[in-house]
Symmetry: C3
Subunit: 245 residues, 3 copies
């Protein structure tokens, strides 16, 4: 029997908290408490004139306002950069820190510093009002390669623009890496084996990012970067494996 | 619901078109049309005095004679070098170009240029009349490592010699790589996770070959290089995932 | 139908032969004969004042005393260094030599020579009476990452100290590597895909170790370094795949 956990799930770029619903409902059915806040700058009608620090602050405040403790704070993709900073701010509230195909940045880097340069070129060339939207083909082939076309289309319709600052801002992570080195933060890394959002090879999620998390628990499953749309029940089970103790 | 597809499946070395039958029958049951032509130089009674270009021509002619359009043209192993050249000749007929643990050669290379040198040494040392047959032990351990011995033996009995030219001829692929760079060809790469025909490490199929296909859809499954003999239904399902849109 | 096999299973560090029981019972149910000797220096009440050579001798004598022939000699983890030396001593008794996430050392190396240096630092800093016991956190996160906490705790209670000599002694493997190069030994490598006892990347089990085994049969499955505690039936099936011919 796994104890009931309190999850705080932090979404990736182009997502908002509502897209966790299929996974969250599976977790709730198992008795877990699940919070799915939206990071500042994301979601329908949000102001996109925000910095990465604003995004971090929005989640810190959410956790404070709900007085959440002993949480499993999970970051997906871009969300990994948010949870790393939240962990700096309130390590004592965190029971376990799982990254799901998420960025674990080196100190002072942006997401774009650690991604293929063609991604950055694409986003700078096609930005609108300081935001970047994923082109359909990239989404379909690299992010949701395990879905059929209609599932991929339906998910694509739900995406929102991402403020460029979230991907361009360099993130001070000195304290985070100290906390890792000290063993204060207990991390997991969930790696989907068919995830090509970071292309296979040099830029692949694993082993690049889990290797930066010290004594990290690795959990793996088949599926794409967006397996939350294709296999939410399996994903929920892996969230529990990543976070259960 | 996946639309009904027209597959043209191009076999690997030591195979002919008839060996696709277990996979093809699963695809046909799902309503797809499946063509399994044999490349010139392969199969019982075929003249083996052929070049790689002859092999390409035989498939181009097959597609023209059957007036096939909107096809999913899939190459397995050596067959990847054939479909790359066919795609140069008739890109407008191709809906999707999946490679299944197949060679995606650099321009001007032969298969032997991109394989472990011990493979070439073995084939030159044991060639008969300009053809090369796989030794049993290599087949059993590296190509069909997921089969029991009797399945591996039964499959081995069905193999034919491969004209050395198919593995030695250098292939002009300038136009192919231009078509990839332009995004004209929509590619997939199906990678079997236990495939050791190219040994793990430097020579592994993935990420080496999918990385050359631009915005490529990666699909993976458990199994060996010859999973068509061990899990044809699963393989057929993955062909659909690779080719469905 | 797979012929009935005679398995000799050689445990890893911190284990003794009795821990094979869940796997062995599955194999016996399928009609196989299974021997699970304990390597000298391991297990409750054993003298730990032993060398790696003593460990090897204990297994050679076991095989001689039971007059075992045509065996599938399988080594797990540290046990790989034992079976390599046993294979030098009695290659004619070995039908198949599978390594399960096991060390295949270069000639003259110790296990510590081929492991992350932090592991050696940890064991030298915490050794007691020339033995090393795994800390709980390392066991739970890197060795049994696919278990729930209670399974991991129950398994941890069964572990014994490992004589440092088993990890520090340099092993002469000249003859072993000659036997591999000659093709005298028929090897398999079973790789659990979620095994992080050797961390992902440079030190990962695969492709590093199977690449040293010549024409080796690769078999893979999901699971951790200690999947014998979490999925013994699946593991038994993979032992048969690795050893069946």
């Amino acid at each position: 029997m796994t104890a009931h956990l309190t999850f705080v799930l932090i979404h990736g770029a182009w997502h908002d908290g509502s897209l966790w619903e299929p996974v969250a409902s599976h977790l709730r059915t198992e008795g877990h408490v699940v919070h799915t806040p939206t990071v500042a700058g994301f979601g329908s009608g949000a102001s996109t004139d925000v910095s990465h620090a604003d995004g971090v602050t929005s989640i810190v405040r959410y956790i404070e306002q709900h007085d959440l403790t002993n949480i499993v704070l999970l970051g997906h993709s871009f969300g990994g950069t948010i949870v790393s900073k939240v962990a700096e701010a309130m390590p004592e509230r965190i029971r376990r820190l799982p990254y799901w195909n998420a960025f674990v940045l080196e100190d002072g880097h942006s997401i774009n510093d650690e991604s293929p340069v063609v991604y950055r070129e694409l986003m700078l060339a096609t930005a609108i009002d300081g935001t970047f939207s994923l082109p359909w083909t990239l989404w379909r082939e690299r992010f949701l390669n395990d879905a059929d076309e209609s599932t991929a289309r339906a998910a694509f319709e739900k995406l929102c623009p991402t403020p460029l600052a979230m991907l361009e801002d360099k993130v001070d992570l000195k304290r985070f890496h100290t906390l890792i080195a000290e063993g204060t933060l207990r991390c997991s890394y969930l790696n989907c084996l068919d995830d090509t959002a970071m292309p296979p090879g040099e830029y692949a999620w694993s082993p690049r990012f889990p290797a930066r998390l010290g004594l990290c628990r690795l959990v793996q499953m088949p599926g794409s970067h967006e397996v939350l749309f294709t296999r939410p029940a399996d994903l929920a089970a892996k969230f529990v494996e990543a976070g259960r103790d």
